[in-house]
Symmetry: C2
Subunit: 257 residues, 2 copies
DNA sequence: TAGTGGTCTAGACCACGGC
DNA sequence: CCGTGGTCTAGACCACTAA
């Protein structure tokens, strides 16, 4: 919830502290659902900062879908704090732990091969580039829930290949190697289990799966991974906030890829 | 793409114009994929505005997933402009038209009844409140693709009930009545077709459908609609951008509701 | 009318990246 | 080292809401 940029040890900016405070207070119900927040000026005085800093904090809370605002009236609470940070979105492991489940991973295949056209496009790679592909079966408390098929550009893949085979969280391992993820573009739709999916997940070929495809980039805008995750239904749902002010969700015609 | 607050006739703010310009230029490939944008100072001079205004524009482009930024280097292009505005996300009709398809709607049922607990919770209604429920079959060029089940609080429902029965876009009609939507919270998962879904969509009961549930609020934070849309697979996918700076997407344990 | 958020300015200092 | 974006300040004026 309203946490700073992924695990960098920097002292957080003031506006992040303010946003975190307000987010916590909103979660505690201090303002009630639909209640009004203090005015910008009042908060500026309370924290001893300028109005601009308060407004930065408010902008954060707004993109998180916690508050709505218009000219003329105080800001209004419209949501609860996300229990989930960006890190927990990208890392199955972190997400599972935050829900109290025990995450697991079983490597199915690891290979290096030339990137196909889709992979080259997603990862911004020139023709003929080699990529690393890792397929894993992910489990929650021992129960299979998802097939993860991740493609890394070779520079990143080499880091992955050196990990101990029992490493549960590749994302966390990459962070510890200095590979941070700053942005991701996701596509969510429905697909059918193939023979391999069915064997590993314990369902039948052709059974429907919830699919999330994702391309993640580092702070410099360089693609770091391209992943396709296939979930058993009844295990996860995705939630999104969108607003007229920013709008990060879109619908699009069904896939072809 | 980078458009102003839903169809209000106000002259757009300067930072929105700058963002729209840059978004268009990015779409035209002027900076290339992975290319660098002009520096803040250069843009401030070019547009004759202060650095703060340019930074507001950049913040917009950033939440849209178009650019990445870090201290020390110029901003980098990481995406293409969304072909889809917030309006096209909320309105099936507008979305369909923007893709060149002909949207249709067939009313299945309209009723008023007391809100159930889930509906009261989503719409912030007190116990005993009446709601309007509208079920419609949505089509693309005559082909059934989605079942829409929308619940409105009575004040909004009364407006809907007065519409001509052949009104295709309820969302647009509401806007014209002054009911604007500013924020929405979405949940995307997979569900199974019931008897009614199957009959209307031309599939079999139990067949998998892609489900989007949505609660939309007006600029004051008041809930305006609570909708559950069930799409035939192979007709749509959802795309989301998320970033460490803001993060509007989350994963959550499967549903119960 | 008084209070509020939306927009914008013109500065300042700092942290980081790349040369 | 210099250029860049990140953070913050202290003002200003306006548009809108609610009393």
């Amino acid at each position: 919830m309203t946490d700073g940029p992924a695990g960098t040890g920097k002292p957080p900016a003031m506006y992040r502290k303010v946003a975190a405070d307000l987010g916590r207070e909103i979660g505690e119900g201090r303002y009630g659902s639909g209640g009004r927040l203090p005015a910008e000026g009042e908060l500026a005085e309370r924290y001893g900062v300028s109005r601009g800093t308060i407004r930065q904090a408010m902008a954060l809370l707004r993109t998180e879908g916690l508050i709505a605002s218009r000219r003329g009236t105080r800001r209004v609470v419209i949501g609860s704090p996300r229990p989930q940070s960006f890190g927990e979105l990208l890392s199955f492991t972190r997400w599972a732990r935050s829900t109290g489940e025990e995450p697991g991973a079983r490597i199915v295949t690891v290979e290096t091969r030339p990137a196909d056209p889709t992979e080259r496009d997603q990862l911004h790679l020139p023709a003929g580039s080699e990529i690393y592909e890792v397929r894993r079966l992910r489990t929650l408390s021992g129960r299979p829930v998802m097939i993860e098929r991740t493609v890394y550009p070779s520079a990143v893949g080499e880091l992955i290949a050196e990990l101990p085979p029992d490493t549960v969280s590749h994302t966390v391992a990459l962070e510890e190697s200095g590979v941070l993820i700053a942005d991701a573009q996701h596509t969510i739709d429905l697909c059918r289990a193939d023979e391999e999916d069915a064997r590993l997940l314990g369902c039948r070929p052709g059974d429907p799966l919830l699919r999330e495809r994702r391309c993640s980039t580092d702070p410099a805008g360089t693609p770091v991974e391209w992943s396709e995750d296939r979930y058993l239904p009844e295990t996860v749902a995705f939630t999104v906030h969108s607003s007229a002010a920013s709008g990060s969700l879109a619908r699009r015609p069904a896939d072809d890829a």
